[in-house]
Symmetry: C2
Subunit: 432 residues, 2 copies
């Protein structure tokens, strides 16, 4: 099949899947969990093959670790599916209901987006998580995983497809892409695919945006800040800064730049330096920072850099407004935190920082779908439309307007014979 045919099959399935009964989708999710359990050995064997090839190709150790998909990981994804089964069906919810006139009722009803294209990294767990989130929300999905995981992904896709087919889900809803050319072909199919979610580097997300008319939900950099205010509890600030920088350096919600109010710079920075030394963090500072602690010089480029490493840039600012301006200029709109004892300063920071996640007196590392209690996430969005921050099920939904009449025509209202009532209704949509 060409990628166009693949997408056409997904589109056809998506129409049926959008109208699937809740019970059918629940049965299919349970069927996937059982099939993963039943096919555990075969899945692990296919993963071992991927690991063997990747070792031969000298894949780096952290990537090998991400690629590994063993009994324990399978148990984890099954637990994820079970928690998804526990959630109510997000499709078919009446979001608003308005009587336009007697016998003319308007309903805004949640529905799936349609066909989603997801390009994800080497972890095979992502395939299971994304496909089950799409199934629960009634979307068809085209998946492109890491090439290193090709055997594992093929096995997982086949197990999931077979399990859902048995449960009565229309075939074609889950399609696997194999190559970069497949992805490039997919990007052209804006008549068939409704949303692309690219999980990967900033350059990769930009490449997708530049080569497709299809809307993209993704995130660019994660240049996250912690601002230590004049009214901060400095001990708390150190604890938060260490966590935000060091708890896991290679992730998008780790702090890259610390901003400190000049009133407390001299008091705070020596202790921070000491605390970060334990984690071998290299500090790069502005001129004022360097007048307080002995660190290398930070330049304009540092404020724009997502290190994803044990490096931290530090800048002394004159005021809260200065800190906000710095964040809105150099930040990536991902996650930014203020440490302060002042509710006024916190409110100003949270109102004026143009970021998807704005935090007060806690670490930037909390910015995550699981920690937020949203369940599995399909990705993190630094978009300003549709969905922002960690995106779970609700990011895979949209709505339709359903209007139920009894023969009404516009001419009667335009001519003034009839008037709209626009009265809120308190009932869900039904054709009965």
């Amino acid at each position: 099949m060409s990628i166009r045919e693949t997408a056409q099959a997904a589109k056809a399935a998506s129409i049926q899947l959008a109208a699937a009964e809740t019970a059918t989708k629940q049965k299919a999710l349970k069927s996937i969990a059982e099939a993963l359990k039943a096919n555990c050995e075969a899945i692990v064997a296919s993963n071992r093959e991927d690991l063997r090839i990747s070792q031969e190709n000298d894949l780096a150790a952290p990537l090998l670790k991400r690629l590994k998909f063993d009994e324990e990981k399978i148990a984890d994804v099954i637990a994820g599916i079970e928690s998804l089964v526990g959630l109510s069906d997000p499709v078919g919810e009446t979001l608003a209901a308005i009587e336009m006139d007697a016998g003319l009722e308007l309903y805004k009803v949640s529905c799936p987006i349609g066909v989603i294209g997801v390009i994800f990294e080497s972890r095979p767990d992502a395939l299971v998580q994304i496909s089950t989130l799409c199934l629960k929300s009634g979307n068809a999905v085209l998946l492109k995983g890491g090439t290193e995981a090709a055997n594992t992904n093929r096995m997982l896709a086949s197990v999931i497809r077979e399990a859902t087919r048995r449960a009565g889900i229309p075939e074609g809803w889950l399609q696997l892409l194999e190559t970069r050319e497949d992805v490039n072909d997919m990007l052209k199919l804006d008549q068939l695919i409704d949303l692309i979610i690219p999980r990967g580097s900033n350059e990769f997300v930009r490449y997708i945006m530049d080569h497709s008319r299809i809307p993209v939900l993704g995130h660019a950099d994660g240049i996250c800040h912690v601002y230590v205010d004049a009214a901060a509890d400095l001990e708390m600030a150190t604890r938060i800064a260490v966590d935000a920088k060091c708890q896991y350096v290679a992730v998008c919600n780790a702090m890259e730049t610390l901003l400190i109010h000049e009133a407390v710079g001299a008091q705070f920075l020596p202790g921070l330096q000491q605390a970060l030394e334990k984690y071998d963090v290299e500090i790069r500072g502005c001129a004022k920072t360097r007048s307080i602690i002995d660190v290398v010089k930070a330049g304009e480029k540092d404020w724009k850099t997502e290190y994803l490493d044990t490096i931290l840039s530090v800048k002394v600012v004159d005021s809260l407004q200065d800190a906000i301006d710095h964040i809105n200029t150099y930040g990536s709109g991902h996650t930014d935190a203020i440490v302060t004892g002042s509710p006024e300063s916190a409110a100003m920071f949270m109102d004026l920082c143009d970021s998807g996640n704005v935090f007060w007196n806690c670490s930037t590392r909390f910015s995550d779908g699981f920690r937020y209690g949203l369940g599995a996430e399909v990705g993190v969005s630094t978009n300003k439309i549709h969905a922002r921050g960690p995106v779970g099920l609700e990011g895979l939904l949209i709505y339709k307007w359903q209007l139920k009449g009894s023969g009404q025509v516009v001419a009667d209202y335009a001519g003034g014979n009839k008037q709209f009532t626009h009265r809120p209704l308190d009932k869900p949509f039904s054709t009965r």
Copy 2:
């Protein structure tokens, strides 16, 4: 100012405007209404100049009519502003609240998108409507109106800017673009502009999508269908078809193709033909249609065409499923209606038609923000994400995640010392 500087000014203003008090925004809206009243004469004079130039340039009569902005139109837009004042502030609403742990509270709070670029047609009323919707929702806006309305738009923008400045709204929030080059420059500024709303032809919207990384909210064609089911009340079907086709032919929610179940084709089509003759509608039919009534032949091209004219294509279908397939293949996802006495058929049609607006027993012409009771609309969306159908205020909003802690760090939770509670909270966000 270059367009980049213009957009930078708008971005800076947008940050302040996002945090503007409700009272300030309300005062500003009232101030605009007063200023439009006070400057009525000057506005009408500038519009007369536009009309004079356009007449000299032989602008078509319908376009001249749209361009005209007189005392009556000014009274209309003032009434629109007054109804906008009556709505509650959509910004700062707590959409969800979750306790992540004791003293660690997560709030999902509505906020403006930021900077919106709107390109609109010749009607000067659109400038007032769009800018006041943006103000109410706390967004800065770059506006590009029709060239024919240049003088009127300049006058309106200046009156609105001065009125809002007096009310304490940050300067720079409303920017006027003048030329197509300005628009092309704007399309490149994806770091400063968050959303583009192009109101215009399908080609124009596609041009915008192809030349920008900025998300676009717009609609392609309006190829709307009425399907007359086997179980339809045929008298009702005729009334609805006449309204959907003829009440206003030049709009996106007018019917372009009528589908009829073969069981009732012979009974229905002669009457329809007679009813449409009064409106000089040309019918183009499929082979089966032409075996019933004497009309010209419809080809593949007709099913894909938005006539926006007194032309209707008619196709006889074998089944409801056939009708749905036709709509999902040739439709534009705008508005599609079924006429039927069967609740089962209605439910199937509304579930399986992949359109933003799906109607039962009423005219497609109801698909409109004012008729829906949403207030003024910024546009109609056939997107599948963010906002769908008529888009009012809510389409100009997004949310941020605000997390309020007391020194929490992720290491404690990752290490297992602490557990998330994920308990729903029933209170709005506050820094107090």
